[in-house]
């Protein structure tokens, strides 16, 4: 085979391999949409479950996931962005910096079920928050930290150095430089990281097990100190714990969860392109 032919063969192979990557996501989405679309109705989205969850809607689980995602946002974002700014803009070569970086790498490597146990020990029992939305949000928040910190730090470091230099040369302080030049330019990247982190948290089951999720609740949570149902855990429950569960409700629930997560990702993509358009360099 000549080297020109070899070139063509290699290109054909790697193109085919790349195309293969698209297939699983299409299959997963198509499968769940086809199986689940029949269950989706206004009633399904807005009413309580009935008859041992075999009928009625999944509204409390949807609400729970929305609340937990919001709670994760509150718990995680200030901490994560503060850390990212420290690491990207202020951190020197010192012991604190090394410890922080080591902590982030290790946080990223911990299995999610371990976060669940940690949340049980730290928030539910030690801090006496009980199994509650607040304990679940804190647990998910900590789990989400490394993703958001890493992407936010990268976004901040990607802002060209010359903007900082110019800003300082005009008499701005370090913080004014960060606040008015660095962060605005880094914002699209930071937002992408935030939303990706949140969409991962929204789909997690294991951290919820011991910290917040309820098998079934007849009422909606009345405060942050109540338990709640949540989509991923609800899906697990109705798929494995309830006999004679209609398949359409299982797939309908999965479809709602999938749409929730995908719409977060979509929002991230839209926000990013709109902001990019305003700030080209």
């Amino acid at each position: 085979m000549s080297r020109q032919q070899a070139q063509k063969v290699v290109v054909a192979i790697i193109t085919a391999v790349a195309a293969l990557v698209v297939i699983p996501i299409i299959l997963v989405i198509a499968f769940i949409v086809i199986q689940g679309i029949g269950a989706i109705s206004w009633e399904f989205l807005t009413t309580m479950p009935r008859n041992g969850m075999r009928e009625g809607g999944i509204m409390p689980a949807i609400l729970g996931t929305v609340l937990l995602t919001f709670g994760t946002f509150i718990a995680c974002i200030p901490l994560a962005i503060g850390t990212a700014i420290y690491l990207a803009e202020y951190a020197g070569e010192n012991r604190l910096t090394r410890w922080v970086r080591l902590a982030i790498v290790n946080l990223a490597g911990i299995p999610s079920i371990v976060y669940g146990l940690f949340g049980l020990g730290a928030f539910v029992l030690f801090m006496k928050l009980g199994t509650s939305i607040i304990a679940g949000s804190l647990t998910l928040g900590i789990m989400t930290l490394p993703v958001v910190i890493s992407t936010a730090e990268e976004a901040i470091l990607a802002v060209p150095q010359r903007f900082r230099v110019v800003s300082l040369s005009l008499g701005a302080t370090r913080w004014q430089t960060i606040r008015h030049q660095v962060l605005p330019h880094a914002l699209p990247g930071i937002l992408t990281g935030v939303i990706l982190g949140l969409s991962r948290a929204a789909g997690e089951t294991a951290p919820l097990l011991f910290t917040v999720a309820a098998f079934y609740l007849p009422d909606l949570p009345a405060s942050l100190f109540d338990q709640t149902m949540a989509l991923p855990y609800h899906l697990y429950v109705i798929s494995t714990q309830v006999p004679d569960m209609p398949v359409s409700i299982q797939y309908g629930t999965a479809l709602v969860l999938l749409l929730f997560v995908l719409s977060l990702t979509l929002v991230a993509a839209i926000v990013r392109t709109r902001m990019r358009r305003r700030r080209e360099w």
């Binding site: 110019v166 300082l168 040369s169 005009l170 008499g171 004014q176 700030r279 360099w281």
Partner: protein, 252 residues
């Protein structure tokens, strides 16, 4: 009338163990254009960045000696470096507007210094753009992106941005090296004009530029100031052999 704005006294600068500036002693006069010439790596840009302490942002650097601005050593403990940089503005080698509107570029400095009134900001933006000779070209499109301007206009915008914080001194680090000859002449004319209100120090590789646009010229070689004097004298009758060799193109 002419008096010393900046006095350099036994000034030395180190990057780690490497001494980049060696025992500098000279004075820069108020409302004059002073050009610093010399081959690449001779320390002239390092010296320029010592005057507004931008070298502070580089790790592992230290200074010995003094640079007096209006008689006050800028390396004294009690000097606030943000105030210093407001007094000593800088224009960089490549035009580097922020990726924002023309107006926001010029207003950035006054805003971080605490100016909030729209009217005041509008006045200062107009004044600064006029000072930089750009007002007539951009007055109808102040909210357009600064990066839509051509490179020469961008560099004049950077000058407007620098003078908007009302400095006394403007440092220019090879401000024309990324510009075409027409835009370069435009900036040189502007420097003479600006010298009425500001003290200007310019680093340049271009000896014709130093000869055309400056009142005083200093020649750097390997971290030392070899010769400093009136531009006309230095180019017509250099006192040092090294200076003559350099300006006639035999060394460098």
């Amino acid at each position: 009338m002419a008096r010393d704005k900046i006095e350099v006294q036994n000034f030395n600068f180190y990057y780690g163990d490497f001494q980049a500036l060696i025992d500098l002693n000279f004075a820069i006069q108020k409302n004059r254009v002073t050009a610093l010439i010399g081959p690449s790596g001779c320390g002239k840009s390092t010296f320029l960045r010592s005057i507004n302490r931008m070298n502070d942002t580089i790790k592992n650097t230290r200074t010995v000696g003094k640079i007096l601005l209006d008689g006050k050593n800028i390396y004294d403990e009690d000097v606030d470096v943000t105030n210093l940089r407001q007094q000593v503005g800088m224009v960089f080698q490549r035009p580097n507007p922020f990726p924002q509107s023309i107006l926001d570029n010029v207003a950035f400095g006054p805003r971080v210094l605490g100016m909030t009134s729209k009217n005041d900001l509008g006045d200062i933006v107009q004044e600064s753009l006029e000072g930089a000779g750009l007002w007539n070209e951009v007055k109808h499109r102040l909210s357009d992106p600064a990066l839509d301007l051509n490179p020469g206009q961008q560099q004049r915008l950077c000058i407007a941005r620098a003078i908007a914080v009302k400095p006394d001194v403007i440092l220019m680090d090879e401000p024309c090296s990324a510009l075409d000859p027409i835009a370069t002449l435009h900036i040189e004319d502007l420097m003479r004009e600006l010298a009425k209100d500001y003290t200007i120090v310019i680093v340049t590789h271009n000896m014709q530029q130093a000869a055309r646009a400056s009142h005083f010229t200093g020649f750097f070689w390997l971290g030392r100031m070899v010769e400093f004097g009136k531009t006309g004298d230095l180019f017509a009758a250099p006192q040092q052999e090294l200076t003559e060799a350099y300006i006639t193109g035999r060394r460098g």
